[in-house]
């Protein structure tokens, strides 16, 4: 066991830092993090993210874990984490590639045809086109396999109809990966197929969703007779669930590796600035107990992700243990931001970035945090995953098991 870099890791870290400092402005570790929330959807923000991705790609610092033939560097997960840690010390453009590079690229590399890999993967890596995921539907969230969008064969094409929702970044994406129902006479998991879809194709309509935090990171996407060539099918007809699982497993790894609870230093700084009983809040006994708990949970999440990373880099596969990162991390984000607002006293009720600490970062984090408890597996779904796959407890009873999908009972939503 060793928390320090090996000599090779230290050398890699130094090289990464040298590259990054040529192109980016370092963040001051003594200053609180700037509020970059809400910048993600601006055209300028997307353009600057694309420019930075091209710079990294051309210099050999993009998608480090991908094989060289697909535009990557063939490096291990550890190097990837080191690069991300170093990149985190600088002010970077909005992160818009998490879904493409973290989930969809690996799915294509696992299940795509040779032609698909050659056509799409390297282009995805350079990031001048951006990809989104089209999975959830209005009536299929936690029960994703209950989705109803359909694809019907028409010669060498498929015709897609239906509605997807919660597609991150769809408004600026060029390509999407969609899972749809191709045979409603089969039980729900068996009748699904996975496709690559051109987001600029005729019949695709993207409508940004106005969220409770005022932002629009998510979208509804409507498909009206959208024609997709069979060559864009990923995996066999009826194998869509299997392919989707690859995407979702990679989502779990992405979330697990990305959780750092990195704002804990800012909370301590805030507790120094804010006042309680005429003294800095950090001198208040109750505040100190909460600060300690926040620190411990944050470090526990960080070291859990390092443990998973250590197992993976020694050849293990992503396991369900990764689920605790999100099961603990998502509600923790809400608790932490609520604590930060309590520290601010009456000012916690403001949303004015010119008057509040860190330009209303904690206010906006609190407004955004309910979404993180739902997206990518709700708190409840993640507890089921831990209970069933880690602890081996019985699965949920499924009323629709083995039933042809078209016979599965539904609520008021039409099939």
């Amino acid at each position: 066991m060793n928390f320090d870099d090996t000599p090779q890791e230290a050398e890699f870290r130094a090289k990464a830092r040298a590259f990054l400092s040529q192109h980016l402005t370092p963040l001051d570790p003594n200053e609180s993090a700037p509020n970059l929330l809400g910048e993600r959807e601006d055209k300028d923000a997307i353009d600057s993210a694309k420019r930075w991705q091209a710079t990294k790609f051309d210099a050999g610092w993009a998608v480090l874990t991908w094989p060289k033939e697909h535009g990557g560097q063939g490096l291990g997960r550890m190097e990837n984490v080191i690069f991300n840690q170093e990149e985190g010390r600088f002010k970077t453009p909005a992160p818009i590639y998490g879904i493409g590079h973290g989930m969809l690229g690996p799915t294509l590399m696992t299940h795509g045809t040779k032609q698909q890999k050659e056509r799409y993967v390297k282009e995805m890596a350079r990031g001048q086109v951006v990809w989104c995921q089209l999975f959830s539907e209005p009536a299929a969230g936690s029960d994703l396999a209950g989705l109803r969008s359909s694809a019907v064969r028409d010669g060498s094409d498929w015709i897609i109809n239906g509605q997807k929702i919660w597609s991150t970044g769809a408004q600026y994406c060029d390509w999407g990966m969609i899972v749809v129902r191709t045979d409603p006479s089969l039980p729900k998991h068996d009748g699904l197929t996975y496709f690559i879809v051109d987001m600029h194709a005729k019949g695709v309509e993207v409508r940004p969703i106005k969220q409770i935090n005022g932002g629009s990171g998510f979208n509804e996407v409507f498909f009206s007779d959208v024609r997709v060539p069979d060559a864009q099918r990923v995996g066999g007809v009826g194998e869509g669930w299997k392919v989707s699982i690859t995407t979702l497993m990679n989502e779990r790894v992405s979330i697990g590796a990305g959780t750092s609870g990195g704002r804990i230093r800012d909370i301590f700084r805030l507790a120094n600035e804010c006042r309680r009983n005429g003294k800095p809040a950090i001198e208040d006994g109750g505040v100190r107990q909460q600060l300690a708990d926040a620190f411990i949970t944050s470090k526990g999440l960080q070291y859990t992700s390092y443990r998973i990373l250590s197992a993976l880099s020694r050849g293990g596969t992503p396991g369900p243990e990764g689920s605790i990162s999100k099961a603990v991390g998502a509600p923790f984000g809400q608790q932490l931001s609520a604590f930060a607002l309590d520290l601010q006293g009456a000012m916690g009720g403001l949303l004015d970035p010119t008057l509040t600490p860190q330009e209303a970062l904690w206010q906006e984090t609190y407004l955004g945090s309910p979404g993180l408890r739902i997206a990518g597996g709700t708190d409840e779904v993640l507890r089921n995953i831990i209970a069933e796959r880690v602890l081996g407890l019985p699965s949920e009873m499924r009323m629709d098991k083995g039933m042809p999908f078209r016979d599965v009972p539904t609520g008021p939503t039409k099939k």
């Binding site: 066991m1 060793n2 928390f3 320090d4 870099d5 090996t6 890791e9 570790p29 003594n30 550890m78 804990i264 230093r265 800012d266 909370i267 301590f268 700084r269 507790a271 120094n272 950090i282 006994g285 100190r288 107990q289 600060l291 300690a292 708990d293 620190f295 411990i296 949970t297 470090k299 526990g300 999440l301 960080q302 070291y303 859990t304 390092y306 443990r307 990373l309 250590s310 197992a311 880099s313 020694r314 243990e321 605790i324 099961a327 603990v328 409840e380 993640l382 507890r383 089921n384 831990i386 209970a387 069933e388 880690v390 602890l391 081996g392 407890l393 019985p394 699965s395 949920e396 009873m397």
Partner: protein, 382 residues
């Protein structure tokens, strides 16, 4: 970076688990809890023969010369077994104090006996209500050769041969080695929340003692010893939490209600998932602390606090949920749930409570400049 224990270290853990599965069933803990012996002497002898008492003691003093990475894994297994022996008092506290502060002569005198299990030691600090640090030890004084004062509660005080006593000396505190079988020592067993890890009262009247470490260094030495012990105790607590969850799971799988195993109800699945998550958060903090401990890293000061708080909370939660998920039978003397409930509470009360360790954590982070906004020194892992 590599956060895995090595295959050799995992083998040490497996050996410990196998040995304790065979030699320390829960009935052993129950026998001590229901009987009037302070610990199980046969298990103590066995653990000594396995060499665990001297795991991290250099071979020159009769130890195995391994590291604290092996020792924490053994602690985790002792926690799983609810082992009714004074391991934590003798190994995490007395042995560590002598390793940290002892003169060569003291090491020669005590360590071979401690590692062989022929001597059992403990730390005598508390004097009734108060924080678990030297500030609470001011009613006991050391005059250079004898100690006078009353200590309670003292973990395993009735079972041990000697104690590392924290006593006032001049304007500060010193650690003093006191032979509990000598003159001027009165020991009495106290009714304890967990009689399988019983507490005692020590009354010292001009009891002979020799200083351990420098005069006036007691407060700092106690702090160091407790930091180290907190990591090992943290692993013991995590082990207890894991076993409580295992047993709860097995029970819930076999207990049927409304025509199905109660383990299939989401309300109970989610409770068990929460216990698992809490235990993993404690264990992950423990990994870092174990590394800091075995590496002599200054980050131990913070990591020990985190581990201690997280592990106390995890074991307490696991033992509370164990009873809740068992339902009525969990409240009976006959079922083993209360063994865990008692042990979780007694370990949470030893070495200072979670509240005290939270306070230490924040004080130490402040002292390091964490989040102060001016010239903060970065923690290596931050």
């Amino acid at each position: 970076m590599n956060l895995e224990f090595s295959d050799e270290q995992k083998f040490v853990q497996k050996t410990a688990r196998d040995y304790l599965t065979e030699n320390a069933p829960l009935s052993l803990c129950r026998a001590v809890l229901e009987g009037n012996k302070p610990y199980d002497p046969a298990l103590w002898k066995g653990v000594a023969e396995m060499g665990w008492l001297g795991t991290a003691v250099p071979e020159a003093y009769g130890g195995a010369g391994l590291s604290h990475l092996e020792l924490v894994l053994i602690a985790q297994e002792l926690g799983r077994a609810l082992a009714p022996i004074p391991f934590s008092s003798s190994v995490y506290l007395a042995t560590e104090a002598i390793l940290q502060a002892g003169s060569e002569a003291q090491k020669q005198k005590y360590l071979p006996k401690l590692t062989a299990g022929e001597a059992i030691g403990t730390l005598a600090l508390a004097e009734g209500l108060g924080d678990f640090d030297a500030s609470s030890a001011s009613g006991t004084s050391f005059d250079g050769s004898t100690v006078t004062g009353t200590k309670l509660p003292v973990s395993d005080g009735a079972a041990t041969n000697f104690a590392v006593v924290v006593a006032r000396e001049g304007s500060g505190h010193s650690l003093v080695l006191v032979d509990l079988e000598g003159e001027g020592v009165t020991r009495s067993a106290l009714a304890s929340f967990d009689p399988s890890r019983p507490l005692a009262k020590l009354e010292l009247k001009r009891a002979r003692g020799e200083r351990l470490g420098g005069a006036g260094q007691g407060a700092q030495l106690v702090r160091d010893v407790l930091d180290r012990a907190a990591v090992m105790m943290g692993y013991e607590q995590v082990g207890g939490a894991e076993r409580a969850l295992d047993l709860t799971r097995s029970f819930a799988m076999g207990r049927f209600a409304f025509g199905r195993p109660v383990a299939s109800f989401q309300a109970l699945k989610h409770r068990m998932a929460d216990v698992y998550a809490k235990t993993q958060i404690a264990l992950s903090n423990g990994y870092f602390a174990a590394w800091a401990l075995s590496n002599g890293s200054p980050e131990l000061a913070v990591a020990a606090c985190s581990t201690r708080v997280a592990a106390s909370e995890a074991f307490v939660l696991a033992s509370e949920e164990m009873i809740q998920i068992h339902g009525g039978v969990g409240f009976t003397w006959e079922y083993d749930c209360h063994l865990f409930y008692r042990r979780a509470r007694s370990l949470a009360a030893a070495l200072g409570t979670a509240n005290e360790w939270r306070e230490k954590l924040v004080s130490r982070l402040q002292a390091s400049g964490f989040g102060s906004g001016k010239g903060a020194t970065e923690l290596a892992t931050d």
